[in-house]
Amino acid sequence: MQIGAYSFGDTQLNPDGSSRSTAEAIKNLFDAIVHADTVGLDYFGIGEHHTVSMPASSPSALIAAAAAATTQITLGSAASIISTDDPVRVFQQLATADAISGGGRIEITAGRGSSVETFPLFGFDLNDYDELYAQKLDLLLTLNNSQAEHVTWTGRTRPSISDLAVVPRPVNGSLPIWIATGGSAPSSARAGRLGLPISYGIIGGQPHRFAPLANLYRQSAAQAGHSGDNIKVSVATFGLVAPTKQEAIDRLYPGWVNLNLEMGKLRGWPAPQRRDFLAQVNAPNAYFVGDPDDIATRIVELHRHLGHMRHFFQGDHGGLPQEYLLESLTLLATEVKPRVQRLLAAK
């Protein structure tokens, strides 16, 4: 089981509640990735996000920088919103990061994005939401699967490519490409049919309820003739680890309030209540907030249902102090992961 983290960037807040700089958030995120590498975390994902509070708009740039500053950690977008980007550029940028990393540490996760800011930002029409995603995923896969530098592709949502060089090629020939989904059954079936690994973002409810989707994914893959190492499941959830569960709860809660206040303004939610937060922090619910024993036990329990090979966590939102993020990353790598390995081996 690989243990990791992901982030959309987390802009810090001043005591009066105003936002500090988004540049600082990116630098913090970079520092966190380097720290995660040093303490031995397996994976760090950077999620494309375009808001002031979560400003990691350019995963590829951050991954390239991190590729140069790290030695062992796997880095990936989590996810790249390919619907509104150019898959040629996404591929080239991450293949460039792959070259800098020495090869084999860079992944792409393709997603639609859970919000729609990128459509007006990059000039796309929401009515084309499904077709854009399908077509751009097809192009991304064509580029990645190409044996040669020169690629040919024809589609409807961007100009065709006729025998043009798309370089650099990844060090090992191709990059791992994952499909990200928030839990739609058709997306699970699609990833299986394509023979691609799937990454579930589970931000609410009871994560073990994703078991039928993971089953659908695996059976769709089998039906389409796909097997082997590429058929695998990863899980992304909220999570923060601290020396004690109470500390973890107290550290994550203020940021959770800020995030929900911000989203509530946009979506018309009522003021967030502490009891709503507390209702989520214990098994079998969605937030992995606790001490190393608690979190390791819950990862292993979820593994019984989903059989996932990687679990990665987002704890930095709403202005989580950086030292809490760094301590959580340390604990994930040095305390949670060994417990998970022991528990899985004992089964």
């Binding site: 939401y129 409810g205 009871q206 659908l216 769709s220 979506r267």
Partner: protein, 204 residues
């Protein structure tokens, strides 16, 4: 939402058919695994059911076939939620509620607005037996009394109290960003909220 509702309806003893924009054969595996007991059908067969639930992204409502749904009892579980799904002119430029827009597009369908204000994972987690004082309630709105009675029974069998909010236009009281939409309420609380939103409505 569709698959969660299908599982909950199966649990309540209903026969469930599922259709999407794709041919039934393409959905067969999905339906077998994710909603065991349900049957993947073509949309025309789904439309011929005693009760039809529309749980597609609202902006795709024009892909529905009005002739297939003519005269049918239809639950509109869809929402217009611009911050999440983007801005669509059909709903921005029309003063009616989204369910009225959908009803206007369909031909003589007996539309009842409901099931739009409960999260898909909550639907399978918050259900309780009838009579439990903490049982969650769901609102419904529509212009056809017989259709509303059928939907109320359906909601009850899913594990929720049904509260009639009045005519279809009264569905505004539980559209996105309303207190009803964003919270979880017992029947008693829901009746009060509906009356607060629309004092003249016959909420009971």
């Amino acid at each position: 939402m569709g698959t969660a509702l299908a599982r909950q309806a199966l649990k309540a003893g209903y026969q469930v058919r599922i259709a999407t924009a794709k041919p039934a054969a393409e959905n067969a595996l999905l339906v077998d695994i994710v909603t065991p007991g349900a049957v993947a059908v073509e949309s025309s067969q789904a439309a011929a059911s005693d009760l039809v639930v529309l749980a597609i992204p609202l902006h795709k409502y024009r892909t529905l076939n009005p002739h297939e749904l003519a005269g049918r009892i239809v639950i509109d579980a869809m929402n217009y939620w611009a911050p999440i799904d983007g801005v669509f002119d059909d709903f921005e430029s029309d003063p009616r509620t989204t369910s009225e827009v959908v009803e206007g597009f369909l031909l003589n369908a007996r539309v009842v607005k409901s099931l739009n204000h409960i999260g898909y994972h909550e639907l399978e987690e918050d259900d309780k037996a009838a009579g439990d004082v903490t049982r969650r309630a769901l609102a419904l709105a529509g212009d056809d009394a017989e259709a509303k009675a059928l939907v109320a029974t359906f909601i009850d069998r899913l594990g929720y109290d049904a509260v009639d909010a009045g005519p279809l236009a009264a569905g505004r009281s539980f559209e996105p960003a309303t207190e009803i939409f964003t919270g979880s309420h017992t029947a008693h609380q829901l009746v009060a909220l509906i009356q607060k939103a629309s004092p003249l409505a016959d909420a009971a």
